[in-house]
């Protein structure tokens, strides 16, 4: 279980995360919902140790996460909004690089893992393709495959559908659901309500760095009137 406890973060005098707390169990999806600049991505960056919290603690299975060793433990995988694929490497190398250099797999083992993941994400025939030959959806799937290669237990997806059309958004929703079924703890930062619609998740609505309302998506759909802030964000009006 992942527990984020009272995380605070400032950039200069601007508070970007204000006492954010949440917990997500294995196999669950947490959606950080909100407009741009409310702190969703920063929370994922803190979780993946790309930014440091000013205060607060993150626990995983009741143990405090140590930022110094987090990357070595491969506990957290991150799929970035812009995918951030290694442009000079081909599709297969994007996956095998960390397997060889971080985990110490030999080239054959790394290649076998890469091919298995590429097949799983419908990219088997693209192994030798260059990144600029992939479509937005293919880049998205490669970014997910790359982050899963190291077998993280927590997967963060930052605005995973911002560059995708509605059909691909639905596919990404299915992929996220599948990842949760496989046992990953999945955190998704998004403002895309179409994506939200496809997920069985817990919604954390954020505003000005704080979580202002939270509920299960199913409860929200059943009783939207009880969650006026989420309803306002999703539909633009209070239910």
């Amino acid at each position: 279980m992942l527990k984020i406890d009272n995380i605070c973060k400032k950039f200069g005098s601007k508070i970007v995360l204000n006492q954010v707390s949440l917990s997500v169990k294995k196999g669950e999806i947490a959606v950080l919902l909100g407009s741009s600049g409310v702190g969703k991505s920063t929370l994922l960056r803190v979780l993946s140790d790309l930014d440091h919290a000013d205060s607060g603690v993150i626990y995983y299975n009741n143990k405090k996460l140590d930022p110094a060793t987090m990357h070595k433990q491969h506990l957290v995988g991150m799929v970035f909004q812009q995918f951030n694929l290694f442009e000079h490497l081909n599709v297969e190398k994007n996956i095998t690089l960390a397997l060889e250099k971080v985990v110490g797999k030999n080239a054959q083992e790394a290649s076998a893992i890469a091919h298995q993941l590429l097949a799983q994400y419908g990219l088997a025939d693209k192994a030798q393709a260059r990144i600029n030959q992939l479509s937005g959806g293919q880049k998205q799937r490669l970014a997910i495959a790359r982050s899963l290669a190291l077998k993280p237990e927590i997967l963060c997806l930052d605005e995973p559908t911002s560059a995708l059309d509605p059909l691909l958004t639905m596919h990404v929703g299915n992929t996220i659901t599948q990842l949760a079924r496989e046992g990953y703890i999945v955190l998704v930062a998004t403002h895309d309500t179409a994506l939200l619609d496809t997920l069985d998740c817990t919604i954390y609505l954020m505003e000005q760095g704080a979580i202002i309302q939270t509920t299960r998506n199913a409860d929200f759909k059943a009783h939207p009137d009880q969650y006026p802030l989420i309803a306002k964000f999703v539909w633009g009006t209070i239910a």
Partner: protein, 219 residues
């Protein structure tokens, strides 16, 4: 008019000089590229103190003529008990000079690599060394290859300044022949021709490398 007889007779001496020029250029390039890459990385990714040191170095080197730098290395270092032969003094000075310019080329190349890729590499657990060596530098060098090519060509031509401290490189050999024959036009035509052949060959190599490293680029 060009005296082709003299040109042919001078060729062995000029080619000997050319060999020295190529040695200075190759070694200067090695020093310049190695040190320049380190300085470029330090300035782009290093701590503030490192950035200051590089800025100071670059300001000092770029703000003074290479001729003065060669003279400094050759005449000033012995004052501190460091005596080096003329060839190595010239090569070192040219390499140190080139390093300052190359550092700025590499720095701009590093800036062209998206920060997101570096962050992705960090999340994947790659070490800083691996990130620099396998993610940043290949893309940075590819982005600045034309500028690096220009720098190497400049370096070949600047090696002629080694003649000022008596290194018998191509220009010096030309000067020696001219002083014997008094036919400056023919001799320096030959010297210029040899420089042109070397720099053109270098340009072609860089163009080939560019095509090789940027398979998507339009020719």
């Amino acid at each position: 008019m060009i005296d082709f007889n003299l040109l042919v007779c001078s060729m062995p001496a000029l080619l000997r000089g050319l060999l020295v020029t190529l040695k200075i250029a190759a070694l200067g390039c090695t020093i310049g590229m190695s040190l320049g890459t380190l300085l470029g990385i330090l300035q782009a990714l290093g701590p503030r103190i490192g950035r200051w040191i590089v800025t100071l170095y670059v300001t000092l080197i770029r703000g003074t003529p290479m001729l003065i730098q060669i003279i400094c290395v050759f005449y000033v270092l012995p004052q501190f008990g460091i005596r080096i032969p003329t060839f190595w003094a010239a090569t070192l000075a040219i390499g140190l000079n080139s390093a300052a310019y190359i550092s700025q080329v590499i720095r701009s190349g590093i800036a062209s690599v998206s920060r997101g890729q570096i962050e992705a590499a960090r999340v994947l657990g790659l070490s800083n060394g691996t990130i620099i060596y396998l993610i940043i530098l290949p893309q940075a060098v590819r982005a600045v290859l034309p500028a690096l090519g220009n720098e190497f060509i400049t370096l070949v031509k600047d090696s002629s300044l080694a003649s000022t401290i008596g290194v018998a490189e191509l220009s010096k050999e030309g000067s020696l022949i001219r002083s014997r024959t008094l036919d400056a036009f023919t001799v320096f035509f030959g010297v210029a021709l040899l420089y042109l052949i070397v720099t053109t060959a270098l340009s072609l190599c860089v163009a080939y490398l560019e095509r090789k490293m940027n398979p998507d680029a339009q020719n």
